[in-house]
Symmetry: C2
């Protein structure tokens, strides 16, 4: 078996995956999380150089982990491999995040790398079905938010939504779950509602698994929510002990359903 | 023909409708817009008294106009008519705004009143198809937002949404269009995106027609948007001259499609 590389974005997840076994840490310039402590510092414009570095180091397994964001590409810095890939990447970019990530996975697979999901390296972080912290809230609001996410998923929109008293208070857009929770707290404080977070049907869990961390719990509590429902087997808890401690400290329930 | 009553909420619309012909102005205690200048001040808890007052004044036509909100009902203040209606109103309330308004319409119709829509009294306020101010923006972002609204409409969610560069930046929830626009401005400034506002498929235009006013235009401009698309024939401009003046002042385009 060859070596493993973790292409690391922001947050605690890259560190938790590195604990699963030896791995080279790759960080991309311009991405959140910075490049400190990286074994390889790469640039989006020089994917050819990254592939060579990885292959030279005997890497056969690649794992994407942590939050990334779209960054502008400098045309004059492109290497030949990236220049050739640019038309297909640009096209995928226009079709949404799911399409872009599917294409990036296909490009890495085309170079001979096996993509390993965070949930494969750390199955202990995956939300198990049932009550995780506190007592699950009555079904109404969670079902309402789930219905909205089910309607939006085919459009590659909406990993998360908030409902309270049968009404929708927040639907996640590009700005992410945290921004939505701050909006709910500012505009509908003290609602006692429920946050639901699930994978979109087209989401490739190997490279883009929804995540709940202790910060999510604190933001949900600050927004006046009473509970969080996640999709069992499809959402990572980063990390489970800290998430449960935050739930206990703030009186939030956390549970997972299929 | 009998007299007309306008059940008035907040904003400029009640005044614009009153200009369409003689009408009694009814205001409900506790609703936004206050009770100043009302011919009849009513309470939600005393619908029986309101029906008597209207019938005594020879009212046969009722028009709902302006923003209302859900208010808590004081149980001890209920008259017999409202007490009898409460179970069905409570049930409808749990099914969303569209269901609640449909039920209120049915109750007024059951009392012999004809419901007249704002668009019937002031057809000159209804958005006509085509360019209204400036030059319509290219189709992409408007189509993206329209797709999201089409998916959500059957769930009685989403009169408005914002897309930019193929990505969703805002989806309206209970807090309304203005709150969504402030969120977009705060979290994704300068996007150049497009606001789309349309009626939901189940929305009864006689009592709940989507509205764009000059304030909407200013908020959209502050949020860094470049245009607004509304549904022709299904959105009111309150009022058209002021809306167009705001568009011109802030360089926003406004157009309507079927």
């Amino acid at each position: 078996m060859g070596a493993r590389a973790i292409i690391a974005g922001d947050g605690a997840l890259p560190g938790l995956l590195a604990a699963a076994g030896p791995a080279l840490i790759v960080r991309l310039e311009g991405m959140p999380g910075g490049t400190d402590g990286a074994d390889i510092v790469a640039r989006l414009e020089r994917l050819g150089a990254l592939f060579s570095d990885l292959q030279g180091a005997g890497v056969t397994e690649v794992c994407f982990a942590g939050a990334m964001r779209r960054v502008a590409v400098e045309a004059e810095a492109l290497d030949a491999v990236t220049r050739d890939l640019l038309p297909r990447l640009t096209k995928a970019m226009g079709q949404g995040d799911d399409a872009l990530l599917r294409d990036i996975v296909a490009i890495f697979e085309g170079q001979g790398f096996t993509i390993r999901g965070a949930h494969e390296l750390r199955p202990d972080l995956v939300a198990p079905e049932g009550a995780i912290a506190g007592i699950p809230r009555p079904e109404g609001d969670a079902a309402r938010a789930r219905g909205v996410l089910a309607a939006l998923g085919p459009l590659d929109v909406g990993q998360a939504a908030v409902a309270a008293g049968g009404q929708m208070l927040g639907i996640e857009t590009l700005q992410g779950t945290d921004a939505m929770l701050r909006f709910v707290g500012r505009t509908a404080p003290g609602s006692g509602g429920v946050l639901v977070k699930r994978a979109k049907p087209g989401q490739d869990l190997r490279v883009d698994m929804p995540v709940i961390g202790p910060d999510t719990v604190l933001l949900a509590a600050d927004a006046g929510l009473s509970g969080i429902e996640v999709q069992a087997g499809h959402v990572l808890l980063v990390d489970p002990d800290a998430v449960c401690a935050s739930c206990a400290a703030r009186g939030l329930a956390l549970w997972a359903v299929p």
